[in-house]
Amino acid sequence: MTMSMTLPDPSEPLLVYEDLNVWRGEAHVLHGVSFTVPTGRVTALLGRNGVGKTTTLLATLGLLPAGGRVSFAGTDLIGLPTHMIARLGIGYVPEDREVFSGLTVEENLRLAERQGEKPRYHLVFELFPDLALRRRQTAGTLSGGQQQMLSLARALLNPNRLLLIDEPTKGLAPIVVENLIEALSKAVGETTVVLVEQNLGVAAEVAEQAVVLDEGRVVFSGPMRQLVADSDLAGRLLGVSIR
């Protein structure tokens, strides 16, 4: 018997959400969310605070119980344990960085190494040379920007097929944001990305697709340029004005 691995068709979406429902305690946060994430593109997941963006990412990773269907390259993720979902080739950069503060930079990265995959240290140290200089430094003593670099480096260490990135610029100084976005754009290449971002300017810079959530429902799904071009629409959905 021979086994063959089917490569994903770039014209097919890599990630498909169908009727995703998530409760957090008593609160029904996501109400039948459905959208697709095209292969090899950056899709921005936008919306005001508390509309369910982070919840969508957590449910994708199996960190919250969910109903409905989340399909990644044909594999249904609902019900799979988180570590199995990550091993399918999904990297995660959480909202508050969540680096292991008691471990060194090197240990944080070593932890992210996956069996059977060659860790891409050359790539992460090329993107974030500061981390190479601080290998022995405890992650808890790094600045916010350096912690964000480490969090991104952890996700980029393996050749993931999908990156889930949650508000990478949150709380960072503009100059740090600029450097981070530049590094992210370089690193992502052909990788599919779901980017949760409050800063519409940043999202518009890196994303080709946009999905807007409001009160746990999808209210817009389409090209980012369409959203950016229509300032009334963006203002109504996101509460921001675009110049």
Binding site: L63, T82, H83, A86, F100, S101, E107, L111, R154, N158
Partner: protein
């Protein structure tokens, strides 16, 4: 001065026992947020296993060698029992604190009753090598060799545990898991396997402690481990949940306070002093001396 040295070395030996019992508790709580109230029974299990080996393994004539075998067998039994406890019982109850407490209290009581049913409630004296009863002169004080042995084994266990946590991938996963188990999972690591390993290692350390405790307390009785569990919890709280170095520091503080107060103030006051020490630490540093504030 010689009395002070003797009391200090005895206190250090007791600290070693507390460390062996408390380190597993601390890691289990730190990683899984499980209060394992049956952990003391693993201390007892280690003591009874060692007693059985010393009593029945007559084919090994040298009592020193027999004790080494007893210690290793007890460690292996504790390792297996800790792992089985997690796999068979605790795993179903993660996140259900009340159920965990009920289960582990019940399990602890059941094991104590089982030990009593099998071997009676009177202490069983461990057959010891003659060298244990001899003394070594330390700065003029006559220190029983058994105290030095307990101290050495506890130090070796502490060093071994630190090496395990510092130098192995399992140790790295455990240290990270104590901080943020969900992020460890999101990196593709099956953290549940580490849960079993931590229970097993905790069981092993407790069983080593039980073997040495049978020497220190001149015998093993069913509730010996459960009685020590209260002090082990105090050690964990003083040191900081999840911190191995904190546990070692807490064990030293608790054991030495007990010994000095019992000798220089009044017998029995040592336990009261330990409770005051606990209250003091909780007022000044509620997360424990080397513990971290929960995010």
């Amino acid at each position: 001065m010689t009395t002070f040295i003797l009391i200090t070395v005895t206190g250090l030996g007791l600290a070693g026992l507390y460390f062996l019992l408390a380190s597993g508790l601390s890691l289990i709580f730190g990683l899984m947020h499980v209060l394992n109230l049956a952990h003391g029974a693993l201390f007892g299990l280690g003591g009874y296993t060692a007693w059985l080996v010393m009593d029945r393994l007559s084919v090994v004539h040298d009592p020193g060698l027999r004790f080494v075998i007893a210690l290793l067998v007890a460690a292996a039994v504790g390792f297996g029992a800790g792992g089985v406890m997690e796999r068979a019982l605790i795993r179903r109850l993660y996140g259900r604190l009340v159920d965990q407490v009920l289960l582990t209290v019940g399990l602890g009581l059941a094991l104590v009753a089982l030990f009593g049913g099998l071997w009676g409630y009177d202490p069983l004296v461990l057959d010891q090598p003659r060298w244990f009863g001899e003394v070594t002169h330390v700065l003029g004080a006559r220190i029983p060799n058994s105290r030095l042995l307990i101290l050495l084994v506890a130090l070796a266990s502490f060093g071994g545990l630190l090496l395990f946590l510092d130098r192995t991938r399992h140790g790295l996963v455990i240290r990270a898991g104590v901080e943020n188990p969900n992020m460890v999972r999101a990196l593709g690591i099956d953290v549940e396997r580490s849960f079993t390993l931590v229970f097993a290692v905790g069981g092993m350390l407790a069983a080593i402690g039980g073997t040495l405790g049978a020497v220190f307390f001149n015998g093993i009785s069913p509730a010996l481990g459960t009685n020590q569990l209260v002090f082990a919890f105090i050690v964990v709280v003083i040191g900081g949940m999840g911190s191995v170095a904190g546990t070692a520091l807490g064990a030293l503080l608790v054991a030495l306070t007990q010994q000095y107060v019992n000798f220089y103030a009044a017998t029995g006051l040592g336990d009261v002093a330990v409770v005051f020490l606990l209250a003091l630490v909780l007022m000044i540093r509620p997360q424990g001396l080397l513990g971290k504030v929960a995010p």
